[in-house]
């Protein structure tokens, strides 16, 4: 049984895709759970149909794992940030630059989500910051269960920042709470300033919109102001920062945003646990 989430139950991780998320060797509980039910019972004729009131939220299981993550993070005063974007918007590049700006003053940890390869985790490790890679296989998002399983590899460092780079996809990751304190949506200037309107769910659930690759702005028809306005129509509370990870332009407000958000979290969570 799984000592982390207690997931020995009869109903857990059925498909080969989701089994992919379980990296523990000893954790192969996907195979026989799905034995087909006995269909040809003699009692079929006599059996009665019953109506059950269920009233269960579809995401209840993910959210309970997310809640466990939040508890674990709070116990260690770790601030976690979930990064969402389309493939190639510049998440990993920005993370590398962010890490360089924050270390060694603040302990850092990274969880990388990609369908395949551990290239991004390797890019992060070159900075000296520990990184684990979750390969989701055919699944197009990280879920709280997968993240919970990685919280001990390596163990959470007290007062660290945990960056979670989600699978490149602006639709699916929006539906999965990972127990993070901050969600950041990144849209690069090569993607079109109407992107928030096309993918409202990611914007609605985010605390900050980063408009990235501003060094490329002169070469494309991308109106930064219009993109920000579109995002605020969907989420009036969203913060907006424009930056270029390549030139470093605009990265200081981003680093300040991280520090302020982390500070706020640490103060409020200390008050709660005191």
């Amino acid at each position: 049984m799984c000592g982390i989430c207690g997931c020995e139950s009869t109903t857990h991780e059925h498909t080969d895709q989701s089994h992919h998320l379980h990296s523990h060797d000893s954790h192969d509980h996907a195979k026989d759970e799905h034995a087909a039910p006995e269909t040809e019972t003699v009692q079929q004729e006599l059996s009665s149909t019953r109506l059950i009131d269920v009233e269960a939220r579809i995401q209840a299981r993910n959210d309970s794992y997310a809640e466990q993550i939040r508890t674990r993070l709070a116990a260690n005063q770790v601030w976690a940030c979930n990064l969402l974007s389309s493939p190639g918007a510049g998440k990993t590049t920005l993370l590398v630059e962010t890490i360089k700006a924050l270390q060694p003053a603040i302990p850092l940890m990274v969880i990388e989500g990609d369908q395949q390869t551990d290239n991004d985790a390797q890019r992060i490790r070159q900075t000296g910051t520990p990184a684990v890679q979750i390969n989701t296989g055919k699944v197009c998002h990280l879920d709280a269960h997968a993240v919970l399983h990685q919280l001990d590899h390596p163990a959470l460092t007290e007062s660290a920042i945990l960056f979670i780079e989600n699978v490149g996809n602006l639709i699916c990751p929006a539906a999965f709470d990972l127990g993070e304190q901050a969600r950041v949506c990144i849209i690069s200037v090569t993607e079109g300033d109407d992107k928030p309107l096309k993918y409202p769910d990611a914007v609605l659930g985010s605390d900050l919109l980063i408009i990235s690759k501003t060094d490329l702005a002169p070469y494309v028809d991308f109106d930064i102001g219009r993109c920000a306005t579109n995002a605020r129509k969907i989420n009036p509370k969203i913060d907006v920062i424009t930056l270029s990870a390549k030139t470093g332009e605009g990265t200081t407000p981003w680093i300040d945003w991280i520090k302020a958000s982390r500070q706020h979290y640490r103060q409020t969570s200390t008050l709660l646990t005191a």
Binding site: T10, T11, H12, H14, T15, Q17, S18, H34, A36, P37, E38, T39, T41, Q43, Q44, S47, S48, T49, R50, L51, I52, D53, V54, E55, A56, R57, I58, Q59, A60, R61, N62, V139, C140, H141, D143, I171, C172, A174, A175, F176, L197, P200, D201, L204, N230, R232, K233, I234, P236
Partner: protein, 114 residues
């Protein structure tokens, strides 16, 4: 295609209910999907069809209801129906809409045979 992952959750819920209520077969599943949840109803239908195949809910009838979205204007305080985002306030036309309802995805009821 997170609808596949959500369909998987529906199956897990159905299986738990089946154990709890000693059902051998699930005949129908009634779902409510918020108009502002990040789910494409047709994609979810397809995902359920694939996911429920060869389970105790194989061929279960899927009843899918869209729950209306609701917003509140941060300017004038009016509440109004929201069918998609972004949504301006119909009273004062500003864009300070706070979403009050329409994001939930719920398994409401199911029928099964003992």
């Amino acid at each position: 295609m997170h609808e596949l992952a959500l369909a998987e959750e529906v199956l897990i819920i159905a299986e738990q209910q089946a154990i709890q209520h000693s059902l051998s077969t699930i005949n129908s599943i009634k779902l409510t999907i918020g108009a502002l949840s990040c789910v494409e109803p047709e994609a979810l239908r397809w995902a359920l069809e694939v996911t429920l195949e060869n389970t105790l809910a194989d061929h279960a009838e899927i009843q899918l209801t869209i729950a209306p979205g609701k917003g509140k204007c941060g300017g004038c305080g009016a509440t109004f129906a929201v069918t998609e985002l972004p949504a301006a306030c119909p009273q004062c036309q500003n864009w300070q809409t706070q979403i009050l309802a329409g994001q939930d995805m719920v398994v409401q009821q199911l029928t099964g045979t003992e």
